[in-house]
Symmetry: C2
Subunit: 337 residues, 2 copies
């Protein structure tokens, strides 16, 4: 096979740099991977050779030889209006510092494509897999456990993580929101529950706490995932059919909360006077909306950074001491409730 392809000139190789710097390829390799051990004058010559040849190391060859791909697979349901985007951005930024690249996989809300994406991560010999969703199928969990150096589940704290999880307790969020509304004197909350395991965990926590405190059973509605602004209209229609009107709506996302506020205002209601609204996620819009939205703050960027920290410890050969890293959450009281 000729080294020319498609008119673009063949890329310079380690060998070319080595020849020019009058050293062996091993030394140039060390210059990149262990700069401390090459003599300053040698390093000088190598730098010059790199510059003059325009050499860029071939990470594919490097990955094969070193058995480290420097690729991390990040698997999320979607990015279109996702609550996970801050996490992804933080991860990309952190990993870039280490020269590690993010392979993005979109699983879809129903995990249809998850199996294929896990296979892709295995095929690429990803140094780690980070998930924001929940992997329930045992066959996938086995593949991940068996074939991925480390897998990090985020945005939740599963009972039995594959390796290690970074997140918070959704049940505890439900409890905290119930207490918050109870303390503020609300009596008839309506729960808008996303059709997923975590949203249900928040709901369960809410209901348990609410009834423990003597509240009457709240009304509720299930909405599709991912959560959309437009779902507010469905919720609104559903509300109209209820006998007793709620005094607070607890939403599964800030976007949905924003939608409810818009619907309420369009219907001539005041928020929070006539109806209080609580969101989830503390997206930028929650603080920018009028009224500003009371919500649950989750530090998505921190989740991303912690996940990368786990990866770094793993790369350094440290076995994790704990399998669950709780980043917590907090309720941000604003105007809407």
């Amino acid at each position: 096979m000729t080294r020319e392809r498609r008119g673009r000139p063949a890329a310079p190789r380690l060998e070319d740099v080595a020849a020019r710097a009058r050293v062996s390829t091993a030394t140039v390799s060390r210059f990149y991977n262990n700069p401390g051990i090459v003599a300053p004058r040698t390093a000088q010559r190598i730098r010059a050779a790199i510059r003059s040849t325009g050499y860029v190391p071939n990470a594919i060859a490097g990955g094969l030889a070193s058995n480290r791909s420097r690729v991390v697979s990040v698997l999320v349901p979607e990015i279109a209006q996702s609550i996970f985007n801050d996490t992804i951005e933080a991860m990309c930024a952190e990993l870039a510092k280490d020269g590690i690249v993010v392979m993005l996989g979109l699983t879809g809300a129903d995990d249809q494509r998850l199996a294929a994406l896990i296979e892709a991560a295995v095929a690429r010999r990803a140094d780690g897999v980070i998930l924001t969703g929940i992997v329930s199928r045992e066959s996938m969990r086995r593949l991940l456990r068996k074939r991925c150096p480390v897998v990090i589940e985020t945005w939740g704290l599963p009972r039995d993580p594959i390796d290690i999880a970074v997140g918070f307790s959704h049940d505890a969020v439900g409890v905290a929101v119930a207490r918050f509304l109870m303390e503020r004197g609300y009596q008839r909350p309506h729960l808008v529950v996303g059709d997923g395991q975590r949203a249900r965990a928040r709901r369960d926590g809410f209901l348990r706490e609410w009834s423990a405190a003597g509240g009457a059973t709240p009304t509720e509605i299930i909405t599709p995932l991912p959560s959309r602004f437009g779902h507010a209209r469905l919720v609104w229609r559903h509300l109209a059919e209820l006998g007793q009107q709620p005094d607070a709506v607890v939403c599964g996302s800030d976007i949905l909360a924003q939608g409810i506020i818009v619907e309420a205002q369009a219907a001539g209601l005041r928020v929070p006077g006539d109806l209080a609204v609580v969101g989830f996620g503390n997206l930028q819009v929650a603080s920018d909306m009028r009224p500003t939205i009371t919500t649950v703050d989750v530090d998505g960027a921190r989740i991303g950074r912690e996940a990368v920290a786990v990866l770094r410890r793993h790369a350094a050969g440290q076995r994790p001491s704990e399998r669950l890293i709780d980043v917590g959450f907090r309720i941000i009281a604003r105007e809407s409730a």
Copy 2:
């Protein structure tokens, strides 16, 4: 070096599958890369061997040997609230069909990290680079042109694309919006212009058309990129300082348009009665907002699919006939203007 690592068992290799299926490694390789040429009975044995060993091909080794990484680098400014997300999702979905993986790079609004990300794409020997931003620095353009098999610029139609561009004319958008407002009888548009080349192109088109049609010079304000809901507040403050109040606000994004509507309503104005608002992008929220938002529809998913189609043609060895692929746009008239 031992083949065991970190307690996880060594992954089976092509050789293991070949031995079990009683064929050479070449034949197993062909089974994957050119299934048509292996005999059905042989294929049967290979399939069985793959199943029983749990073999997953090592794409790193494959990439090195074949000089095709099956990786595409996608470089975008951000994903947090990005107009490009539909494009990214469509690309991921299309590329997944071909067994190609997306390497996601976030450049930031200011291209700070662009150079490093281009280097990463070169180092990984990406089969293609897809950009949504504009690459102005000549050194980066040169690196892309010289070292990347194909580079696809999207969401715009530059005068001199590096290889090929998929997008639409931002100037034409400005012209179309100006005509739209003119026809509807608006007289005092206010332009909210994002601080970037493309937003300025839309502005220039608008101004040219507006004054050609005899309109008085519009007022305007520059806003930071990326566009945020919260910028609406800045714009609103700026509007208050204007002598003559506009009868229409032309926004650089739907999110910003939504923000302006919220501000206007909070100030007791009716939209579009007292103030019309036009967005850009036709995000989901534009059709869900109350009032629904008049905006410019750009088919982001189509841009993604067209970009992948270019990649496929390139992989098939076809040289592109045209260097600019115009996907167009259209104005969606809704309630807000």
